[in-house]
Structure formats: C-alpha cells, structure tokens
C-alpha cells in the first residue's frame, strides 16, 4: 500500500485520479485470531491499530456487521475537546486530544483536525463560577482553558444574542486546542493504518454469539461462521447491552437516541465551536459551509437511529435563542444515532467478569473525541490484561462500589446525563 503525499496527489490528479487502489484489503475471515474486536466504528478500528502498533499484536480482526464507520462514528457532530471537571475524565480526554494533535502524521491520513476552539457560554453568576472552577481543574493538570468576558466573546462570535432578556451572554470558557475533525476520515484513516500493520478488517460480518468455555472466551459466532479467538473486545456503542448479553452480562447502560442537523451551505459565519449554556445546543460550521448542530437526547430508550419532532423543535428553539440569525436558515438533513448511556455519563474501558472478554462502551454522546485515546487504552487493557492508569477507574465495578464519575452530578438517570 502506497503512502499518501502531496506529490502522489499531484501525479494522480494529472492522471485524472484513476488508479488510486483500495485503501484497505477485503479479507475473508481466518478460522482463528489472537484478538477479535467486535465493531468497526472509530473505537474498534483505533483499538486494532494500537494493538498492532503499540503492542506488536497483529493477528487481529475487526468484525463489523455493516460497512465500517456508519454507526455513531459517521453520525456525530465531530466536536473534539478535553474540558472536563473530574480529573479521571480530564487526564483521559487530554491524552486523547494529544493523540489527535499528531494523528494525521501518525496515520498518514488527512482527518481534517481543526483546532478552532470550543467555547462554552455562560449566562448567570452561578454558571460563571462553575465554568471558572472547571477551567481551574483543567489548568491544574496542564490543560489549556481561558475564561472570557462578554466583550471577548463578542469579538469571537459577534452574532450571538448578547442581550437576550432571559439568558444574556456573560462570557465563556474557551479551550483553544479543542475543535472538530472529519468523522468518516477518522474511521477510514484508522482502518487503512491498521490494515497496513496486518489487521483484517472484515465488513458485513455480524457477531451473533460469544463462545465461552469454563468462564473463558474462546471465540465468536458470526453470520460468516464461527471464528476462534484468544481474546475478544467489544466496541459496539449503542449495541453494547445486546452484545454483552451474548456473554451473559447485564450492564449499567441504556440505549437512547440523539439527533443532529445540518443546514444549507453559507459563507463563513461561525469559526469556532459554540455551546449554549442555557439549553442543550452546540454549533460549528463544516468546511462545505453547512452549520452542524445538535442538542439533547430524545430521552427515552430507543435503538431506532431516528428521533421525534418534539426534540427537533426544542433544538431549533434553543439555537434561535442563542443566535437569532439562524431562524432564516433551512435545515437540509437530520439524523439520529443510538447512544450507549451509562448511569453516570462516563465510559467503560475494562475487563469483564468473563476471562478474555473486554469492554469498550458507554460513550454516551461524547465518544468521538475519545476515539484515539479510547483505542489506545483499550489496546493496552487487552494486551496487558490490566488497565492503563488513564482508564483504571473506567470499570463496571465503580457503580457497585459507589465510585461514580458523574460529571454533571445528576444521579443514576441515563436520559438526564
């Protein structure tokens, strides 16, 4: 497989872009692998890549029931940041952001990582104090955070409704290193890089059962026949409860739907990522010019990958309160993805009670930014059979032991996280 380069692009362009060739192979499943990863989203593909790259484990297959990257990886609003309050989360997401910063060189793939900043608005004194506290918590461990006043925010995003009678903009917490990335390219880039190191990426291969013998994993059943494996990792996002149930596990997770939207293309309007503090709404502008935005969960258990109109109306109302100029725009597309919501809103990267079976899930609506860090930590956990210190607290047992990582402090209600 050839390396991508500016020179290669130029010569291919002169040849009318014929002869690019496949970016990764299309192998038939082998009878057995050292490690099988279930789920060809960003997390599964990144896990396979880091298993090969960091741990030299290359006899690995990623099994994906459809084409890769069409789950939540291809459905999210692409925001990347590490502005968390709790140290366990913040150390982990900061490591992930550092991996993002070198990802294109590492993968030899343009994932269009754009560090355009992530700005969280606040609209009351209480919110300002919470933002300052979170910013301090970030700075204490060396993550960049700046508390902006109203005029500094106005200089960045002039079209906000600063004097909204109910929610005046008082300022914002800015992480300049945050931003967006091209979601599909992340899946493709990891797939291509993993494939180069010998990983088999097997599409249209649904896992239908998890084989066990005496409390230990021995392989999986699939729609393309049984495949043996020494170790099996699950990275199936919204389907986590269903796949884990194949190994008799019952998890602190519910599946909920989250919607996203994109408008017609516009001249540059927002050159950063802005989140509303008075409602669930976040917005950025894609390179094609469309405004990409989303809001809150629909709020009921669902596997449907589509939401209902009530939430559409709610998201638009929040958006127009924050930026009244949006009211004239037309929305071109709208879609939904199935979130694996945990009971505390934080993820799981851990061993399971079944020996040789590992879990990567519970990413809620915030797992895109985690993609490289999650794959890196999951690969470590699988290769060494113990967590890295960055994911040591992301266990299933934390719920039973009362060590929740409840970033928002809302209690065990997945639809409220």
């Amino acid at each position: 497989m050839t390396r991508y380069s500016a020179f290669g692009l130029l010569t291919k362009a002169l040849g009318g872009h014929a002869g690019w060739g496949r970016a990764w192979r299309d192998p038939a499943p082998k009878p057995s692998y050292d490690v099988i990863i279930i789920g060809g989203g960003g997390h599964g593909l990144a896990s396979a890549y880091y298993l090969a790259k960091e741990h030299g484990i290359t006899n690995v297959a990623v099994l994906e029931k459809g084409p890769i990257g069409l789950g939540n990886t291809g459905r999210n609003t692409t925001i990347v940041r590490s502005n968390y309050l709790l140290p366990e989360n913040n150390h982990f997401y900061e490591w992930s952001l550092k991996l993002w910063e070198g990802l294109e060189q590492d993968l030899n793939f343009n994932v269009m990582m754009s560090q355009r900043g992530v700005l969280n608005l606040f609209h009351s004194d209480a919110q300002k104090h919470a933002a300052a506290r979170r910013g301090n918590s970030m700075r204490l461990i060396g993550v960049d955070a700046e508390l902006l006043d109203r005029e500094q925010v106005r200089a960045m995003v002039p079209l906000l409704d600063f004097d909204n009678a109910r929610f005046p903009v008082m300022g914002g917490l800015l992480q300049r290193r945050g931003g967006t990335a091209r979601h599909d390219a992340v899946a493709w880039g990891f797939a291509r890089a993993a494939d180069r190191l010998g990983v088999d990426i097997i599409q249209h291969c649904e896992v239908t059962g998890i084989r066990r013998e005496g409390g230990r994993v021995t392989g999986v059943e699939t729609t393309r026949g049984p495949i043996a494996a020494g170790k099996v990792g699950m990275a199936v996002a919204g389907n986590t409860s269903r796949v884990a149930a194949m190994a008799g596990l019952r998890l602190p997770i519910e599946s909920h739907v989250l919607q996203a939207f994109v408008t017609e293309g516009l001249k540059p309007l927002v050159d950063t990522v802005v989140t509303f503090g008075a409602g669930h709404f976040y917005i950025s502008q894609s390179d094609k010019g469309g405004l990409v935005f989303g809001g809150d969960l629909d709020g009921y258990n669902s596997y449907a990958q589509r939401g209902t109109l009530q939430m559409v109306e709610h998201v638009f109302a929040a958006g127009v309160s924050m930026m009244p100029c949006l009211s004239r725009l037309r929305v071109l597309r709208q879609w939904g993805g199935v979130m694996d919501m945990t009971m505390d809103g934080s993820p799981l990267i851990c061993r399971t009670p079944v020996e040789g079976l590992y879990l990567n899930g519970g990413w809620c609506y915030g797992g895109f930014k985690a993609t490289p860090g999650s794959g890196w930590c999951f690969a470590h956990t699988i290769a060494k059979d113990e967590p890295h210190r960055l994911n040591a607290s992301m266990t299933i047992e934390r719920f039973r032991d009362g060590r929740l990582m409840d970033e928002r402090g809302v209690g065990p209600w997945p639809w409220a996280q």
Binding site: R242, E254, S302, Y303
Partner: protein, 91 residues
C-alpha cells in the same frame, strides 16, 4: 412522535409526558445486600424490542402511566395504570 393513551386523560402527545425508565425493576428488601441494590439502581435489560416503561403525565393528570413500547419501531402495544400487568407481545 409518540401518542400515549393515558388511562385517566385519553390519548395525549408525548410532549406532555416525562420519561421515567424501565418499569420492570423492583426495589429489593432493605437487607437484600449490595448486589441486589446495585442491580436495582444501575443495571438494565435494555432490550431492542418490547420495553415496559414509565411515562409520567407531568403536563396532564400527573399520574404515572405504564407503557409497553417497542424500542426499534417506537410502536406502543398498550398502556395502563401503575398496578396493571400489561401483556408484552411476542417479537
């Protein structure tokens, strides 16, 4: 959009209700131990299929309505009062 048949008010728009989750979990006896309480508070079957759940008619009569709803099609098979045991259709 869901239209939920409240046993007290009749068919009403989803927007009047607040979702309150899985209606099959039961509070264990006070001395049942940590594992039983862990299951009660945190773990869920989370099926892709029929789900018996609570919808609180917060913008109406304020009663809790039990609903059997499909989590893939969003179809509602039946609704009832809190004490009713509702039949769950076969998949």
């Amino acid at each position: 959009m869901h239209r939920i048949d409240c046993p007290w008010c009749g068919p009403r728009d989803e927007a009047e209700f607040a979702y309150r989750g899985d209606a099959t979990v039961r509070r264990p006896a006070h001395d049942a131990g940590i594992d039983a309480f862990y299951d009660y508070v945190y773990t869920r079957a989370n099926p892709r299929g029929w789900h018996t759940e609570w919808w609180h008619h917060a913008g109406g009569c304020r009663q809790f309505v039990k609903v059997v709803r499909h989590t893939m099609t969003h179809e509602i098979a039946g609704t009832g009062k809190a004490g009713d045991s509702l039949p769950v259709p076969a998949e």
